[in-house]
Symmetry: C2
Subunit: 205 residues, 2 copies
């Protein structure tokens, strides 16, 4: 449901832009107003540039047919990079997760975008995921390791279990991201599951 | 300072729009990413409409020369409205405050936009406010009451004190918004100043 200010007194062009911003996730009318009044203080060139960035957003975007990531080339720069280790594939739910992992600069393999997670409550099953393409990719490219980089949530765990079962017969090593305490955590405030995992997966020093 | 993702891997058009959103107040790169990926799912017509709303924002905007509010006409619809009580002026810091008061539908007078508040720490004194124009307006229009609708903060109180001192010689009634408990408040968690005000300005039943 859209929240509508009860009595519109703003000039039409301001109200239009408030309405546009209000549809963005987590943005309510008050936040939208704040954005608009910030933009009102910018010069017209700045606004044109912003408008152009929105108008052109999708024009130059494609989907990499190798890893299914949102990209500006097909194949994407990562899949096209000869220096990448093509024997490891990191499976993530969405393109944004790929970027987050890339930012660590600790991974040199390829990626594969699953396109979501299994969510029983939202009626989103394995059929909605790019599973078939993943199986094909593993079979045809001599992949040796699959890293499941999925959220440590009910949805992520369910999806990881499903994929493990599905991919095991392909004779490929399957790993997942480590579970334990995040950096900067306080034992006193750690939740039970995190602490249990930290104990269970403790490492030698 | 602008926060920049350490390693840009997004397609250029996505990165451009993330950068544009990131300059909005309270929006960091993660929030900006979320907005952009939401927009990626919209159809091109929707994006064009959003882009147009930004591009046209300032084209149709002016400042009402009577109350100094941001408006699409000069004078603005409120100042031009013959049914409004021209003997009362509600002084607010910015146009957004005007809209908030209008939304209550409890006020039928005119407004005046001060253009900010006195902030000693930010080196923003009375010279930055539209004080001269306010004095003129009061002198020339037979105004009988000035309502100071300023934030109950140090800046708002300082500004109210300054204006009271300045406007008293003009022989005009000066009032301010009531201080007390907000609706839904819990006495147990009310701060001392709010509670002191609620006691001090208690009303007969």
């Amino acid at each position: 449901m859209r929240y509508v200010l009860c009595d519109m007194r703003y000039p039409q062009s301001i109200q239009n832009l408030i309405d546009e911003f209000s549809q963005l996730p987590t943005v309510g009318p008050k936040t939208a107003e704040r954005y608009v009044f910030y933009l009102l203080k910018q010069n017209p060139e700045k606004l044109q540039q912003f408008a152009q960035a929105i108008a052109e957003l999708k024009e130059k975007i494609t989907i990499c047919q190798s890893c299914l990531a949102v990209a500006d080339t097909n194949p994407c720069p990562i899949c096209a990079d000869g220096k990448r280790d093509k024997k490891i594939i990191c499976v993530v739910a969405k393109t944004r997760d790929l970027i987050t992992i890339e930012d660590t600069k600790q991974y040199n393999g390829l990626y594969f975008i699953l396109g979501g997670l299994i969510n029983a409550l939202a009626d989103s099953g394995p059929d909605n995921l790019n599973v078939k393409k993943l199986v094909e990719k593993i079979k045809n490219n001599g992949v040796e390791e699959i890293i499941l980089a999925l959220n440590p949530t009910v949805e992520g765990e369910t999806t990881a279990m499903y994929l493990t079962k599905l991919l095991k017969p392909l004779n490929v090593k399957i790993t997942r991201l480590a579970k334990g305490l995040p950096m900067g955590a306080d034992l006193e405030y750690a939740d039970e599951i995190t602490l249990s995992n930290a104990l269970k997966y403790r490492t030698d020093l």
